[in-house]
Symmetry: C2
Subunit: 121 residues, 2 copies
């Protein structure tokens, strides 16, 4: 089994963070991990969006978050347990991750009522 | 000549901003436009990176910034004059653009001494 790799804080790049957090599903996953001090497994997020997400896609999302330095994962049996590295990133890029999560929250809040109107019409 | 299109503030997306500002050259261009109240033409930035950038590539960078809602451009003769839309974006996504520009500044500052050491050795 391949060991999990995590970039050192000094090797975390703005480009990597922006790419990882440009996908709404990944931001949603990351925001939930970052909001809690508990560890999270992939399967917690099978129903994170309106359509169920295949486990292979979720694993890929977690890998992108891990490679970008946003989460730290550890194998426990057959599952990966992940925690946020937000505090570490904040020492290098203050306020960056928080501003992106907040912007996504504004955007999804603005989109929700529009969707409802479409389904009612 | 095709008219220039600019998204309305409500149609500006986090994904579009993150994509546009995930490229170091585009961030550099945008940071310079955002730091000044004057308008800027593409040709101001021909020597923005270590290697001169072809004008066609610069035009493409400006188009991506414009499509993301980050700048507003206007034709004046054969040139495009562009200004930042940072203030408009801040009303929708407070602090987002500033945090990204600041993070890129931290990163390029950290990379600069390493480059110098390599050229001296």
């Amino acid at each position: 089994m391949r060991p999990l790799s995590h970039p050192a804080v000094k090797d975390i790049t703005v480009e990597g963070i922006l790419h990882a957090l440009s996908d709404p599903v990944r931001v949603h996953i990351f925001a939930r991990i970052a909001a809690s001090s508990a560890t999270h497994t992939c399967s917690t997020f099978l129903n994170v969006s309106e359509k169920p997400i295949p486990k292979s896609t979720l694993s890929q999302h977690f890998k992108i978050l891990r490679d970008a330095g946003l989460i730290r994962s550890q194998r426990q049996g057959v599952e990966l347990q992940s925690v946020s590295r937000c505090a570490e990133i904040d020492t290098r890029f203050p306020g960056l991750v928080g501003a992106i999560i907040a912007a996504h929250a504004v955007q999804s809040k603005a989109r929700r009522p529009a969707r409802k109107r479409v389904s009612v019409a």
